[in-house]
């Protein structure tokens, strides 16, 4: 995979970014899973929009996660 950019990502930083993206992806999946589960169980509550939804909305403040989020 070639990286075409005028900006040098810094190979070290790109590697770290890739790893963090993976972790963040898992975190997001858990959040979606948790929120879907909550919706299924608490069927009397209105559905909340998924965190990734609105284009211009500020991402909803999720409950504080694992230490790696710091």
């Amino acid at each position: 995979m070639e990286i075409f950019a005028y900006l040098d990502p810094g190979s070290v930083s790109a590697a770290l970014a890739a790893v963090l993206a993976g972790i963040a992806g898992i975190g997001a999946a858990f959040r979606t899973f948790g929120s879907n589960l909550k919706n299924k169980l608490m069927f009397w509550k209105k559905d909340e929009p998924a965190p990734e939804a609105a284009a211009t909305a500020t991402p909803a403040d999720a409950p504080e996660d694992k230490p790696s989020e710091q």
Binding site: M1, E2, I3, F4, A5, Y6, L7, P9, G10, S11, V12, S13, A14, A15, L16, A17, A18, V19, L20, A21, G22, A24, G25, G27, A28, P51, E52, A55, T56, T58, P59, D61, A62, P67, S68, E69, Q70
Partner: protein, 468 residues
């Protein structure tokens, strides 16, 4: 006069050109592909509508016919952008301004992913403030996502957005001098030196600073030859990048600068003004602004922005400067709450205003170079400039004269309590040029004094002066 913007040269697909009437952006064939992907999505309309990105439209490439060699692969399309009323830089912003710019940067990155796009860089120099509202100006930064690619701009985001914010939030280190002194921001290996072992538990420190720095150091030891090996980065899905940006957004949003949260230091209570003086001053400023109707007013030493607000009623734009970071921060928060897009608050030391920086000294402009004011308010200022900063009265007046600005200046006499307090720390007979008669003489040499009014207390005089 048409000239390629000297600060816009790094991106080979996009180049900014400034004319007397407009701001254009030339796009290469590849840049055009990215632009078309962007303009085809609903994103462009949404973001320009909300003011999150600067107003942009396509124009006929012939507007740049006179210029050659703008881009290595040629110019295929040309865009026109709305002008930003007054350009400012992150080393003039307050903590919250940098924080809000960072949030905007991330929000755009998140929204872009949904449209199959990404932002190729992450620098606060791509954000401009219109009054108290941040706006993203680098349309050329939007490009089509390349599948598998990680967040390329992560390092730049850390160096120019995150570390300055962490310094201020966690250690109360002013980030502005650092940003002004280092055009690319703060490196991970330098950022980590500021944090102690205990700080590792603080937001943003362990992963983005400490770990980042450690990997950097290891890479530096192995040398540039290892770059090829490092190119084998794991494939990243766009949704993962989006999650990463959201995570960073949460982190940035939670940072707080405690010292900046205390509101007014009690200036209005502890200052030495009489109420009559205050009222008379307010009327004077209001009368002048209403008669002048300036396009641009500078309020130097704005403090809580009271006079900026009065001037703003009759000015197109106001830039409010003060030396004290916490003061400007409080002003920004207040303006932001009102959604004020007229008054731009900036941190600036009058005795050391922003210089020209960057490649050939052309990438960042001097303060005055960005727009000399039509009207300048210098209220409760000259005694600080002259007695504390030791700048000769004549020099200050010459500076104002050279800008060609109409000057509304307040001269506190030596009998004024504040002036006496400042002089008390100095030897007998200090600052002899700071004296009523001398001030008026120096003023008359450079300006025509149109109005002169002594305030009720008898200790201060207001002048309205026009440059000769």
């Amino acid at each position: 006069m048409t000239a390629a913007e000297p600060g816009s040269f790094r991106d080979r697909d996009s180049r900014v050109v400034v004319t007397d009437d407009a701001i254009y952006r030339a796009l290469s064939p590849e840049g055009t592909e990215d632009w078309e992907a962007f303009s085809a999505s609903p994103l462009l309309g949404q973001l320009t509508g909300s003011g999150q990105i600067i107003g942009t439209r396509e124009v006929d490439p012939s507007v740049l016919a006179g210029l050659s060699d703008l881009l290595p692969t040629g110019v295929e399309k040309v865009l026109e952008h709305d002008r930003v009323p007054f350009v400012s830089y992150p080393y003039e912003w307050t903590f919250s301004m940098l924080q809000d710019a960072a949030k905007l940067q991330l929000e755009l990155g998140i929204a872009a992913i949904d449209a199959g796009l990404t932002l190729k860089d992450a620098t606060p120099y791509n954000v401009q403030y219109i009054g108290s509202k941040p706006t993203f100006i680098d349309i050329g930064s939007f490009e089509k996502i390349t599948d598998g690619e990680p967040w390329i701009a992560y390092r730049q985001f850390c160096m120019l957005y995150l570390y300055p914010l962490l310094f201020q939030a966690h250690k109360d280190i002013p980030f502005q001098p650092w940003m002004r002194g280092s055009i690319d921001g703060i490196q991970p290996i330098d950022a980590i030196k500021v944090f102690s072992l205990r700080d590792r538990l603080r937001r943003g420190v362990f992963l983005h600073t400490s770990l980042h720095a450690r990997l950097d150091r290891r890479a530096n030891k192995s040398g540039p030859g290892s770059a090829e090996a490092n190119k084998q980065t794991r494939q990243v899905k766009p949704k993962q990048i989006q999650a990463q940006l959201q995570s960073m957004h949460r982190l940035v949003s939670k940072l707080k600068w405690k010292a900046g949260e205390t509101s007014w230091s009690g200036y209005r209570q502890s200052n030495t003004y009489s109420d009559d003086d205050d009222r008379r001053k307010q009327s004077f400023v209001a009368e002048v602004a209403s008669a002048e109707k300036p396009a641009l007013t500078w309020d130097m030493g704005c403090n809580d922005g009271a006079y900026s607000r009065i001037a703003a009623e009759n000015s197109d734009r106001v830039v409010a400067f003060d030396f004290d970071h916490a003061t400007v921060e409080a002003l920004y928060r207040s303006l932001k709450q009102e959604g004020n897009t007229k008054i731009l608050p900036l941190v600036s030391n009058l005795a050391d205003p922003s210089p020209a920086l960057g490649w050939r000294g052309l990438e960042r402009k001097t303060l005055v170079g960005r727009g000399a004011p039509d009207l300048m308010l210098a209220l409760a200022l000259i005694h600080h400039v002259s007695i504390s900063a030791n700048i000769p009265v004549a020099d200050f007046l010459q500076w104002a004269r050279d800008m060609g600005t109409t000057l509304l200046i307040e001269f506190p006499k030596r009998t004024d309590p504040m002036v006496r307090a400042l002089l008390a720390n100095k030897h007998e007979g200090a600052n002899p040029d700071y004296e009523e008669g001398n001030f008026e003489r120096e003023l008359e040499k450079r300006f025509t004094v149109e109005r002169r009014e002594e305030l009720p207390s008898g200790d201060r005089i207001l002048f309205l002066a026009r440059p000769r």
